[in-house]
Amino acid sequence: MATVIRSETHPAIGSYEEVNHDILRLLSRPGRSYTILLAVTIALVITMFTAWGVQIVLGIGMSGLRNPIGWGVYITTFVFWVGIGHAGTLISAILYLFRARWRQSIYRAAEAMTVFAVMTAGLFPVIHVGRPWLAYYLIPYPNQRMIWPNFRSPLVWDVFAVGTYFTVSATFFFIGMIPDLAAARDSAVVPWRRRLYSILSLGWRGTNWEWKNFTRAYLYLAALATPLVLSVHSVVSWDFAMSLVPGWHSTVFAPYFVAGAIFSGLAMVLTLLIPIRKIYGLEAYFTPRHTEAMAKMMLLTAMIVSYAYACEAFVGWYTFEAAEQHGGYLLFGATGEYWWSTWLMVTCNFFVPQLLWFRSVRRSFAAMFVITLFVNIGMWFERYSIIVVSLSHEYSPWMWNQYRPSLTGMLIILGSFGWFLMWFLLFLRLLPAVSVAELKEVLPAPLRLYRRPRAVEETTRRPPVRGRGTEENR
């Protein structure tokens, strides 16, 4: 037995064959726990749409919103999911451009998370508006009356920013997956899967010409997606920064929101991947090296976000304006009736991430899982604080009010998590969750001697090679 040359980034992975086996194995028939989990998420989705239906029929008042708090948990959750959607493109595009080689094994899942997060986020503006059946008014479509959207409105910018981001992310997600879909096609034994992958892989054969075009396209898309990572949440932040609301109209909002988005997105990636690693036995693919790298980025963005908190509080105080001093979500929020929300945000986003200074914490899956849960909660409440607290105490003291989300609102929020997880679960079983092709880039070239996997299941047994499969060209 010759010694196997190990990958620097993924030392536990032995061979290309092993990669194929480990990844495409996930596309087999799911177990009982998966089915139950999927059923739960679908039930949540049904709950969400039922609650939404009730809200449409009776009125948006079912959301618990009231004057003057026109935006509440729906916009909070919209911003939350858009923020989550940042990590995938960051990992896949920016880290690709920077040649961060540890990204290979996780970027696919992160990208899928991005696409589903933006799909989830996209529901919320429609859920939020008073007359959702007219939401298409926000889209510039040619019409006889020559009425166009108001291009000065940040909400219209939002439509473009989020729409563009979704289009590019989904395209990037799909393009990057083509070689793997071909591999899945080649190994699929179930007819409908083979048909599905045949269609999705667009006839990929793995020729040099195809690889050349593929890598070029991938690079360009990465370059295109990179500025979007910065732009989309900047535009979302302008929903607030462009307004007149104390606590909102702040120039720090764009970098603050982008940093927060990356912070929350990385947290969500870890929250999702740590259990998947355990459940699907992907220990070899997702290593402490990954958590460490992401934890460092989280630490950086947490500090940026915390700096923004301090900035907001200081500037609010420094204005010596009553509305700013008593209205902003940080100054008023820290002492007013929403103190719990503000302090939850500061605790989860500033104090808890301080643990990431420690290497042992960064490399511990259990610790990272707990910390990222805190960060997810903290980032949701950050948006809640910004939106609800600021709107509760504006310029007119006569029109101060308190808001608490209604049952309908909470069911829809809960359902949105079901909606997101449903898509993610389907993704895990329908599409290759780890990039087979790119992972092989970081593995050493195959030697003549390699270990055969100990057991190959029926469904993933390598099918007869038709034409030239992906393997041969590596």
């Binding site: 009125g59 009231r66 004057n67 008073g130 007359r131 007219l134 009425i147 409105s153 929903d239 007149l244």
Partner: protein, 1053 residues
């Protein structure tokens, strides 16, 4: 089409038929109206033009004041009530109750036809049968019948008197607020049992002893208007209101000097003031000298619990040569010494020389003079209990609700036959055996004499909504059935009165004819009417009110004080009874601005309207001072149990900074058991906590009589309304007040005289009014607004040169366009909230109901903000004065709401308005977030107008559905109507021709609307005042509303 209809013929047929169908839909279809009452549209009525409102003049009968009223009707339906500018009572203005009278007309809980009781249920009967039952009962009553009527004067009063004496029925006029102490005092002192007419406009110093003359007291619209004219800042001068009262009502909140005296000491303070004036040699005591000798000022200050210096200061300011006025007592001060208060107030006025100046005995408030006292009603109750009343006819009053004591219900149960003419099923009517519902006053003929020499016509403004019958006609019909012979009434025709259409020449057989005959016989000669009666009658209808010479006669010589009864006055505080077991608080029951004595509690507009004082809607509340609340450990919304020796109830707390620590207060008017869906089972009826106590001297009901115990229950409810978290402004400077010296400095040019302000022929034009106009017309604010057709971002502070650019994103607007703007003088705003209800009526604003109101979802396009200034920021304790601020859409030139709307639902009109296109609105609510004034309101649900409340909807204004943002538009429908009319006449709209609903009804004329680009317009001139400021100006919203700072005498410069 050769053989068929020609196109034109077809259109004619369709048009005629369609119009007929449309009109038949307009008339009543709910009660089976006889077909001959349909208006044939084939020959269109001259006064019904589809799309154009027709106004009818009538008289408001919601309270006894009798304001002249103009009612706008559209296609046969009344849609808006306004004041009759010719009426000396209303001056073209109305209070919230008057505005809401339409919801009385269209109330879904009206009694819809004649009903008789069958067991616990009601059975529909024909009018003939119902009348026959009453006639039979009267025939068998054996003279033991009583006719309890509401407070009316004029022709119906005459008919009822004649009918009662002919039928052998005793007539009693009942009103819960009858002002007996004032009448008794004037009988004692001057031999005139009447409430004199108060001329507030002439009084620059007013002292109130618990008289809520801005809300319900005697004639609130006239008095409110006069009060503003007499005391608001003008030409460098400002008057003053002193309020000696333990508890601040809206009236007392308008006082610069609130002196929280101990309950029951009003008369002592008034006499002390009179004594001080006499002692200073500025007044003559006359016959009261002996009484005043017995007053010890220091002892009075001790008893009242206030510093003697305050009384001295008030006395000094009060003695100002007949330009002052003392008023009282009101209902809240009607305690066991109420007549003593009225006597003391009359002496104080007499000492200060106010009789003949600000008060006159030659003209009286007639409506108040003939009402039975509470003691009379107690005797009636006793007789009913004794079985001495066989038949009780009730026309309007609701003693079962307004009279304390369980014996009232027991007494009604002893009466074998009760017939009620009430329009609504109130508590008393619910005990009746036969219901003969009267027309609403907006469907009735009649007249009313509110004060000497003023005859105000009541005329129907539309066909009856339901199958009701005017009580006057019922009485005539009953007279025919009973074969009574009435003076001036002819024999009925065989088919009954309804079929007879008299010309007025023959003896009248309907009430309408009876009314006309009376006017022809008496009123026309009294005013020297010329020509035929028909012509004169039409002109009288057009005027709505006829003034006889007595109305304008110079005040007669003031009779000397009669000292005869003064010896009986006891100079000690009024007694409050209690059990002595923990009942430490004086309980004040005070009338409601919104519900009067409870009669208008079934109007959803009034229920929804945040109370002018507490800002609570739909609920009752207990007023506690913040210190007391802290001591009891309760806060706003905590439910407490209030116990008196007569009853016990539970209600939530509202902490009132304007309340003594030893006093609690509950408003009268809620807690109905009947009166329909909007009133029943809502809040508590404070009368249930009171005992049946009459004041011996006047027979008045003692409203302030008991002490109460308050016990926290630990429960908390979310109280509906618009209560702010804090009573202060949180440093925002939303309202601003300045000292008199500062005002004089700011309005510098005032003394030099202001150019005469040109007026248009409009409701706002009134001689002597625009005194607030002063200063430099080139004022920055005005020139800035005048320069902007629509939007032109000119920085308020000096900016870099060339900024902002002359043209904008919106493009430039033609200079020919107007720029609509408003000026609101906080000096003239009394916080009465009539504008809010007028806005609801004009703009089809939805009623959200108590649950939604508790969540802060009220749709008050116009709201009155109320701030306690200079006190604790949170509770308002130790406040210096109260500021009111009407807040509505500021129609910003640089509106924050407009750019953020993604679909152009919020857009800028060429006339500078912030338009809102309801059809385009998607409901992102971004505009409302971005509005710093928070005047955009969202329709969280679709609201309902139960049939026939929806008949009132203004056809010119969209009814908004769920999911749509809505807001004030400066009544753009009125602007368009005036512009269209002007265009038809080939001219531009005149200044004053366009009046938004809020400005129209404002009793103080605080709101002035117009085109600020016209430098001669009234709004431009007022906005140029040195007192002008704009709310949140620092945000550069360039709002179109200029507020004029309140002037607070004595505050730091």
């Amino acid at each position: 089409m050769a053989n068929g209809l020609e196109r034109r013929d077809f259109l004619k047929v369709v048009g005629t038929a369609g119009a007929g169908v449309a009109l038949s839909a307009c008339s009543s279809n709910l009660g089976g109206v006889p077909p001959e009452r349909l208006i044939p549209y084939v020959v269109p009525q001259d006064d019904i033009v589809p799309g154009i409102a027709t106004y009818y003049r009538t008289t408001c009968r919601e309270c006894p004041a009798g304001c002249g009223m103009d009612v706008a009707t559209r296609e046969g339906r009344a849609i808006k009530a306004e004041g009759n500018p010719l009426s000396p009572i209303s001056h073209g203005k109305l209070c919230p109750r008057g505005q809401a009278s339409l919801q009385g007309l269209y109330n879904p809980d009206r009694v819809r036809q004649a009903l008789v009781r069958s067991g616990t249920d009601w059975q529909k009967v024909t009018w003939e049968e119902a009348e026959q039952r009453v006639a039979n009962a009267l025939a068998g009553a054996g003279g033991r019948a009583v006719f309890l009527t509401r407070n009316y004067t004029g022709t119906l009063d005459r008919l009822v008197s004649d009918w009662s004496s002919a039928a052998g029925v005793e007539r009693i006029i009942y009103d819960a607020y009858a002002w007996e102490p004032i009448r008794a005092a004037h009988r004692m002192l001057f031999g005139v049992e009447a409430v004199p007419v108060h001329d507030f406009a002439r009084a620059s110093v007013v002292v109130s002893f618990g008289a809520d003359f801005l809300e319900t007291w005697v004639s609130p619209v006239d008095y409110a208007r006069g009060f503003v004219q007499g005391t608001a800042y003008a030409n460098g001068q400002r008057g003053k209101l002193w309020a000696f009262t333990p508890h601040q009502t809206l009236t007392d909140m308008n006082a610069e000097e609130w002196v929280p005296i101990r309950p029951g000491t009003e008369h002592l303070v008034a006499l002390a003031m009179a004594k001080l004036i006499v002692a200073s040699g500025r007044g003559q005591a006359g016959a009261a000298a002996g009484l005043l000798d017995g007053v010890d000022v220091n002892a009075v200050a001790e008893q009242a619990g206030v510093p003697v210096a305050r009384i001295q200061q008030a006395a000094q300011e009060f003695a100002n040569g007949g330009r002052s006025l003392a008023v009282g007592p009101g209902v809240s001060a009607q305690h066991r010494a109420a007549t003593a208060v009225a006597v003391a107030v009359a002496i104080l006025n007499s000492v200060a020389g106010n009789y003949g100046s600000t008060l006159t005995l030659s003209r009286t408030e007639e409506h108040a003079s003939r009402v039975a006292s509470y003691a009379d009603m107690q005797r009636l109750v006793q007789r009913m209990q004794d079985g001495q009343v066989q038949v009780l006819l009730v026309d309007g009053p609701n003693p079962l609700y307004t009279m304390p004591g369980a014996e009232v219900a027991a007494a009604l149960a002893r009466v074998p036959f009760i017939a009620s003419f009430s329009t609504y099923l109130d508590e008393t009517s619910a005990k009746a055996h036969v219901l003969l519902p009267d027309h609403h006053f907006l469907e009735s003929w009649g007249d009313y004499v509110p004060r000497t020499g003023v005859r105000s016509i009541v005329q129907p403004v539309m066909l009856p909504v339901f199958d009701t019958k005017q009580t006057g006609d019922v009485l005539l019909s009953l007279a025919a059935r009973l074969k009574l012979s009435l003076p001036n009434v002819g024999a009925p025709a065989a088919a009954g009165p309804a079929a007879a259409t008299g010309t007025g020449a023959a003896a009248p057989t309907t009430f309408y004819d009876y009314l006309r005959a009376t006017w022809q016989r008496e009123v026309m000669p009294s005013v020297g009417g010329t020509g035929t009666f028909e012509e004169w009658w039409q002109s009288a209808l057009k005027a709505g009110v006829v003034l006889t010479p007595a109305a304008t006669a110079a005040p007669a010589a003031v009779p000397a004080l009669n000292a005869a009864g003064l010896g009986q006055l006891r100079l000690e505080p009024a007694e409050f009874t209690g059990t002595g077991r923990g009942d430490e608080f004086y309980l004040i029951a005070y009338p409601s601005m919104r519900f009067y004595d409870g009669r208008t509690a079934n109007r959803p507009w009034l229920q929804e309207l945040p109370d002018p004082v507490s800002k609570v809607s739909w609920e009752s509340w207990l007023e506690l001072s913040p210190a007391t609340a802290r001591r009891l450990g309760v806060d706003d919304g905590h439910v407490v149990e209030v116990t008196t020796q007569f009853g016990r109830t539970r209600l939530p707390v509202w902490r009132h900074p304007g309340l003594r620590d030893d006093t609690i207060a509950i408003q009268i008017g809620q807690g109905h058991e009947e009166l329909g869906r909007y009133a029943a089972d809502r809040g508590v009826n404070v009368v249930k906590l009171l005992g049946a106590v009459a004041e011996p001297a006047s027979g008045a009901m003692v409203w302030a009589q008991v002490k109460a115990a308050v016990r926290p229950t630990g429960e908390w409810v979310r109280v509906p309304g618009q209560m702010p978290e804090n009573n202060g402004e949180g440093g925002r400077e939303i309202t601003r007040s300045i000292s008199l010296a500062e005002a004089r400095r700011l309005e510098g040019g005032a003394a030099a005289g202001v150019a005469a302000v040109p007026h248009a022929e409009g409701a706002q034009a009134e001689a002597g009014e625009p005194a607030a106009i002063a200063g430099n017309p080139k004022d920055k604010v005005v020139t800035e607004l005048q320069g902007t057709g629509g939007f032109a971002p000119q920085s308020v502070a000096a900016g870099p040169s060339g900024y902002p650019p002359p043209s904008t994103y919106y493009g430039e607007y033609s200079q020919a366009q107007p720029r609509w703007a408003m000026a609101i003088d906080l000096e003239r705003c009394i916080g009465c909230s009539a504008c809010v209800t007028a806005c609801y009526a004009e703009n089809n604003i939805g009623i959200v109901g108590p649950e939604q109101a508790a969540k802060g979802r009220l749709l008050t396009w116009m709201r009155i903000e109320r701030y306690f200034e200079g006190g604790d920021a949170r509770t308002g304790e130790g406040f210096d004065h109260v500021n009111f601020l009407p807040m509505l859409c500021q129609q910003c030139g640089n509106a924050p709401c407009e750019p953020v709307c993604p679909v152009y639902a919020a857009y800028h009109t060429p006339e500078g308005l912030n338009g809102q296109v309801y059809n385009r609105c998607v409901g992102t609510r971004y505009c409302a977030n971005n509005c710093p004034y928070k005047v955009r309101y969202f329709n969280w649900f679709s609201w309902e107008w139960p049939e026939p409340l929806n008949w009132q909807l203004n056809p010119d204004v969209t009814v908004r559905e769920k999911g749509v943002m809505e807001k004030c538009t400066f009544c753009v429908q009125r602007i368009r109507a005036a512009q269209n009319q002007a265009r038809l006449e080939g001219r531009g709209p005149l200044d004053g021709e366009i009046t938004p609903a809020c400005a129209q009804t404002c009793p103080g004329d605080a709101i002035v609307f117009g085109n600020i680009k016209d430098p001669n317009s009234r709004v431009a001139q007022i906005a140029a005042s040195g007192r002008g400021y704009r709310v949140l100006e620092e945000l550069n919203t360039q709002s179109a509303i200029t507020y004029l700072k309140r002037v607070v005498d004595g505050s730091e410069a």
